[in-house]
Amino acid sequence: MSEYQSSELYQARIVALAKSKTGAGKLASPTKSARRDNPLCGDRVTIDVTLDNGKIAEIAHQVRGCLLCQASAAALAKTAVGRDASGIAELRHDAERAIGREAGKAHEPFDAFEPVASHKSRHECVLLPFEALKDALS
């Protein structure tokens, strides 16, 4: 069918990240947690962390939101353990590079978000988990 065209945004790696549900859920006794809402689209992310000497020992997230937000939270959960606030800021630069807000090439796993670059209205979906984690760490 000619109108049956694949969606450019939902590439296999983004879908796989979201479906991996890495880190999805709650921590039994988090050191800190924070919730962030995106008032424009209604996405909501809650992040729990336990900290060891300022570094993330465990991380979990609950996402009430779209696939991009879920995928981003999963990518963050894959990479956050062992990092402190500045280490997380580095990951965020990677995400910003993937969506074209910063120059340079993003690394795995955030390079999966490169297809989002041309969809400006969806950038916040990728960044919302970072915002929640920043709040949790501050």
């Binding site: 969606s7 996405d43 909501r44 939101g65 969806r122």
Partner: protein, 406 residues
């Protein structure tokens, strides 16, 4: 008369746009409808042959502009079945509701009650919350039934002798549910309350007879009714407009200004301070005439046939759920649905890659989303120019989202 879809579509140039190799399947009419040549021509004609300010000049262009502006008021009045001097032009539907809250609000006193519903658009909730803060009125909310209609069964319980105003959506922008206005007006009369209808989603589907409806205030937006942006309408009974103080102060709305005191112009000018949106008003007049020229029995049948096609098609896709009346009874052509396991934004984004424009999210109706414990829905909203192919590509896109995203 019958409904000639090809003829209707020809009047909307945007429908023949090709974007990224795909035709436009525009099913986001509830957010903003497209505009026909008749409207574009009317605005262009004003801008190129009659542009001037209104009411203030003696020169010929000013006279032409004033005449076109007042003709537009008459066109809108005819569309609503009321008198021109009862029509107030505003900046939009939200602006019209705020005008009522600010100008009718002062006639209410502490302890008076305003009744709205759980399915209202934020623009029919927040102005009343602000009024509550300003003047201590109480706000009540009618509940919503499981199929997304305002539960009028609760009316008798929620109406009190302190209820002064009932303000409800004529058609829900989320569920498409059509309000049983007669029931509301009867119940309101029994306690002496006024009735305001938010007609944002009703006005785009044909002329109205507000006198027969028996309501007291009616508001709608130009851009959802095939008109320009930046224009909206408030209609109110003349005795209400007469009693209401102005909201905005400025030029055009005064009788006489001295330092000590200013007297107000009579309605509608009392409520149109400053230079009004002249071109948009003229465009809206043309849009009302364009709508009035359609055969609405046939047009409504066409629109509701498309709704049936959406409902039938969605039902065949595993894990879909309609938020709203399941049949064509009591509804207008707005359909909200859920696709199990796929977020509405991802459904809408997938549809965009098929060239289908729909809206996803909370639709500025968060209390309704809370009522159903939802983050949002995907909403299909239909206009006379939509056709079977729009719906068929929509359904193909939803099937694609269902197979790839879950």
């Amino acid at each position: 008369m019958t409904f000639d879809i090809a003829k209707v579509r020809r009047q909307f140039p945007i429908l023949s746009e090709i974007i990224d190799g795909r035709p436009v399947h525009y099913l986001d009419n509830g957010a903003s409808a497209q505009t026909p040549l008749a409207v574009i021509d009317a605005v262009r004609s004003y801008e190129t042959t009659s542009r001037a300010n209104v009411l203030r000049g003696v020169h010929r262009l000013a006279e032409r502009a004033t005449e076109l502006y007042e003709n537009a008021r008459a066109d809108v009045a005819r569309f609503l079945g009321v008198e021109p001097m009862e029509i107030v032009f505003t900046g939009g539907c939200t602006a019209a509701i705020n005008l009522v809250a600010y100008s009718y609000g002062p006639l209410l006193k502490r302890g008076d009650r305003v009744l709205i519903s759980e399915l209202e658009h934020h623009s029919n909730i927040v102005p009343w919350q602000l009024l509550r803060q300003r003047s201590g009125i109480e706000l009540d909310m009618l509940p919503v039934t499981t199929d997304g209609q305002i539960d009028l069964g609760a009316l008798s319980k929620m109406l009190t002798s302190e209820t002064r105003l009932i303000s409800l959506a004529h058609v829900s922008n989320v569920t498409g549910a059509l309000l049983d206005v007669r029931k509301v007006v009867e119940a309101a009369k029994a306690v002496g309350a006024k009735v305001m209808l938010d007609g944002a989603q009703r006005a785009p589907h044909g002329p109205l007879d507000l006198k027969a409806l028996g309501v007291d205030f009616y508001v709608f937006a130009g851009h959802k009714a095939y008109g320009p942006n930046g224009i909206g309408v408030l209609w109110a009974r003349p005795e209400l407009l007469d009693a209401m103080p102005p909201f905005h102060g400025g030029g055009s709305m005064i009788g006489r200004v001295t330092l000590a005191e200013t007297t107000w112009a009579p309605p509608p000018r009392r409520f149109e301070a400053g230079t009004p949106p002249i071109g948009p008003a003229i465009g809206l007049g043309a849009a009302c005439n364009w709508m009035a020229a359609l055969d609405w029995t046939a047009t409504h049948e066409h629109e509701m046939g498309l709704v049936q096609r959406v409902l039938d098609g969605l039902q065949k896709i595993d894990g879909t759920q309609i938020l709203g009346p399941a049949s064509l009874q009591n509804r207008y052509p707005v359909v909200s649905f859920l696709l199990d396991g796929v977020h509405p934004h991802d459904v809408a984004q997938t549809l965009d890659s098929f060239g289908v424009a729909v809206r996803a999210g909370h639709h500025c109706a968060q209390p309704l989303m809370d009522r159903f414990d939802l983050d949002g829905t995907t909403r299909v909203s239909i206009a006379p120019y939509n056709d079977n192919s729009d719906i068929d590509v929509l359904l193909t896109g939803v099937r694609h989202a269902a197979t790839t995203l879950r």
